[in-house]
């Protein structure tokens, strides 16, 4: 599985391996089946416990939904995984072998963790196609980037993704001129271009129409298997549509975990959602 993925990656990305690479050459060891291990994480902001003894495991190829009321720690958990925030204590590793807490944001991105933000963040001054180009997996060091040119193959990949996210005819528009929903799609497209092992997707369907939502659900489902996906979402219908397993966070810790049905019948969950 691991070897297969590496070959896949090597074939898909026409990148030259340098001698001094560190993070880019690391592949997570998923021999125990889990891709992501978060254990006993704690983090507080000025006395407020945003994350409280949180433990969370994700299997390779799994699609997991994370729900929970506001302030439950969903976004903060993503921040920790992507290196934006460091926990006060606890451990986070990618596979068995890569300690996420020792890597910078860009290194974490390079080992294959991609993230879509809650508020869509695209590069508004750039065209749609340029946004995708920037996100594209490849050598992201300074000088290779300075002299980089798009190969035909890469161009094809961009066109593919443009097709998937439905922005083919907007390819040459400035991203800033897109609608909110289109920006959401563009950001998902950027995630696809990054081709990460793990996708963290924060509220992907906010501001989308029903049809768009359906397409997003379809897309995320199709990604699972080859990729591991964590989706944070408020929209329960959407969660029901895509999730096999759901994790409920509350006050910085895991309140419940299971299938959607199990979750919905869990008295603790009901109390948290209905009680407030």
């Amino acid at each position: 599985m691991k070897a297969l993925r590496q070959i896949q990656k090597a074939m898909r990305r026409d990148r030259q391996f340098g001698l001094m690479h560190s993070a880019r050459d690391m592949a997570p060891d998923v021999s125990h089946g889990e891709l992501l291990y978060l254990e006993d994480l704690n983090l507080s902001f000025d006395g407020f416990k945003a994350i409280d003894d949180l433990s969370f495991y994700l299997e390779a190829g799994e699609l997991r939904c994370v729900i929970g009321p506001n302030g439950a720690g969903k976004t903060t958990m993503m921040d920790i995984i992507t290196g934006k925030t460091r926990p006060d204590s606890g451990s986070a590793s990618f596979g068995l072998n890569i300690d996420l807490l020792e890597l910078s944001e860009s290194e974490i991105a390079e080992i294959g963790i991609g993230r879509k933000f809650q508020k869509p963040t695209v590069f508004e001054c750039h065209r749609v196609i340029e946004n995708l180009e920037l996100a594209m997996a490849g050598d992201k060091r300074v000088f290779p980037t300075l002299f980089a040119k798009l190969t035909g193959e890469q161009r094809d990949r961009i066109d593919d993704v443009l097709g998937i996210i439905g922005l083919t005819e907007h390819a040459y528009r400035d991203a800033g001129a897109l609608s909110h929903g289109q920006k959401q799609w563009l950001e998902i497209g950027m995630l696809l271009m990054q081709d990460p092992l793990l996708l963290l997707v924060d509220e992907p369907v906010a501001g989308m129409t029903h049809q768009e939502m359906d397409r997003t659900a379809e897309l995320l489902r199709s990604l699972a298997g080859n990729h591991s996906v964590v989706v944070v979402e408020h929209d329960m219908e959407f969660v029901r549509a895509i999730a096999k397993r759901v994790t409920v966070l509350h006050r910085g810790r895991v309140l419940a975990e299971g299938t959607m049905d199990q979750i919905q019948n869990d008295p603790k969950v009901i109390e948290v959602y209905l009680g407030e």
């Binding site: 992507t82 934006k84 910078s104 944001e105 860009s106 290194e107 974490i108 991105a109 390079e110 991609g114 993230r115 933000f117 963040t121 695209v122 590069f123 508004e124 001054c125 750039h126 065209r127 340029e130 180009e133 920037l134 996100a135 997996a137 992201k140 060091r141 300074v142 000088f143 980037t145 300075l146 002299f147 980089a148 400035d174 800033g176 001129a177 950027m190 990054q194």
Partner: protein, 370 residues
């Protein structure tokens, strides 16, 4: 080839370079071959003035590269300019040789005056032009590299960065005012005689320096265009608009900033090196924080985020400065101050923004700060 392709789609830049070429042809003719009595004659003074403007324009391009495209408002670029100028000044000082007031073949006058007996180590090698030329690029570049390495690594951004770049140039100014530093203290370096064997006062040398400035501007412009039209340039703009997002794509934001910042500093150094032989002096006043801020306003007035806008701004503002300080000196600071206020309030895209309907972008460059 890449350099030429860099001009694709850059109409403003093409026009600018065309005009620059035209000026580079016409000015020498009007100065050297038109008789002084003719109304078409261009005085050497004017040639030098134009040459000075061109070095300013190059400096403005360097600033625009980091400000307009990378979002780093450097209030210390005057320091890089001055350091390049000092490197060139040191070469010119060594060229004076025995023709100084004290006639010391080795030591510049001010060192004799301070009773120094030998040349400080950091003056070694500056009698060679190639060495000085190397230092012109290397010293500002390295300073920027070290400074940037410290600053960017610890994510100092926005106004904090602006303020510490200002502190940098301020500290350098104080340091260069000290006689013990060995750069002529208050008076700086001056009384230059010749460069590469050519007499600095001759018309021919002046024209030569003017042409060198024009060439440096053209090359510097093309180099910057090459950077901004590359993928790296797009990464830079992305950093300007959404730094965190770029990190999550796997780019090493710090390194991108570091290299572009250092390159820009080296470019500023080149501008300073060409400036010094034309004005004939370099002193610590060039490090004054005011200078660095002033050159930011050239870029703002011309229009940041378009490199030719920076060129336009530098030349326009400096022409206005020459004009005003001659006609009514009191009014200049009012005018400059007013320009700062009006441009930021009313013309966020500068003069270029007034004319150019950019085909692509209707979006305002989003807020530059994080």
């Amino acid at each position: 080839m890449g350099f030429i392709r860099a001009l694709k789609g850059d109409t403003g830049g093409q026009i600018m370079l065309f005009l620059l070429g035209l000026v580079a042809i016409v000015v020498p003719i009007l100065n050297l071959w038109v008789p002084a009595s003719s109304p078409w004659y261009l005085s050497t003074y004017t040639v030098t003035l134009l040459g000075k403007y061109l070095t300013y324009a190059l400096l403005a391009v360097a600033v625009d590269l980091v400000w307009g495209y990378l979002g780093i408002l450097s209030l210390g670029h005057g320091a890089f300019f001055a350091l390049g100028g000092y490197a060139m000044g040191m070469y010119l000082m060594r060229q004076i040789g025995e023709r100084g007031v004290y006639g010391n073949p080795e030591l510049p006058d001010f060192m004799v005056f301070l009773d120094w007996s030998e040349l400080p180590w950091f003056w070694y090698g500056f009698d060679q032009f190639w060495f000085a030329a190397l230092m012109v690029v290397l010293v500002p570049g390295l300073l920027a590299f070290v400074f940037g390495w410290l600053a960017f690594r610890s994510r100092v951004t926005g106004v904090y960065l602006s303020i510490i770049t200002q502190a940098l140039t301020y500290a350098l100014m104080l340091a260069f005012f000290r006689n013990e530093m060995g750069f002529g203290g208050n008076n700086g370096l001056t009384d230059f005689k010749d460069i590469l064997g050519f007499d600095l006062r001759s018309d021919g040398t002046r024209i030569g320096l003017f042409l060198a400035s024009a060439a440096a501007l053209a090359l510097g412009y093309l180099a910057c265009r090459f950077v901004v039209s590359s993928r790296l340039g797009r990464v830079a703009v992305a950093i300007r608009d959404a730094e965190a997002r770029v990190r999550f794509l796997g780019y090493r934001v710090e390194r991108v900033k570091l290299w572009i910042f250092s390159f820009s500093a080296a470019l500023a150094g080149v501008a300073g090196a060409l400036y010094v032989p034309q004005v004939g002096i370099i002193n610590p006043g060039e490090f004054a924080p005011l200078n660095s801020i002033e050159l930011v306003i050239w870029v703002a007035i011309g229009g940041r985020f378009t490199l030719y806008g920076a060129v336009l701004g530098a030349i326009l503002v400096n022409y206005a400065k020459t004009y005003f300080t001659g006609v009514m000196p009191e009014a200049w600071l009012f005018a400059l101050g007013g320009l700062f206020v009006l441009v930021t309030l009313l013309l966020p895209k500068g003069i270029v923004g007034l004319f150019a309907r950019r085909k692509r972008s209707t979006a305002q460059p989003a807020d530059v700060t994080p």
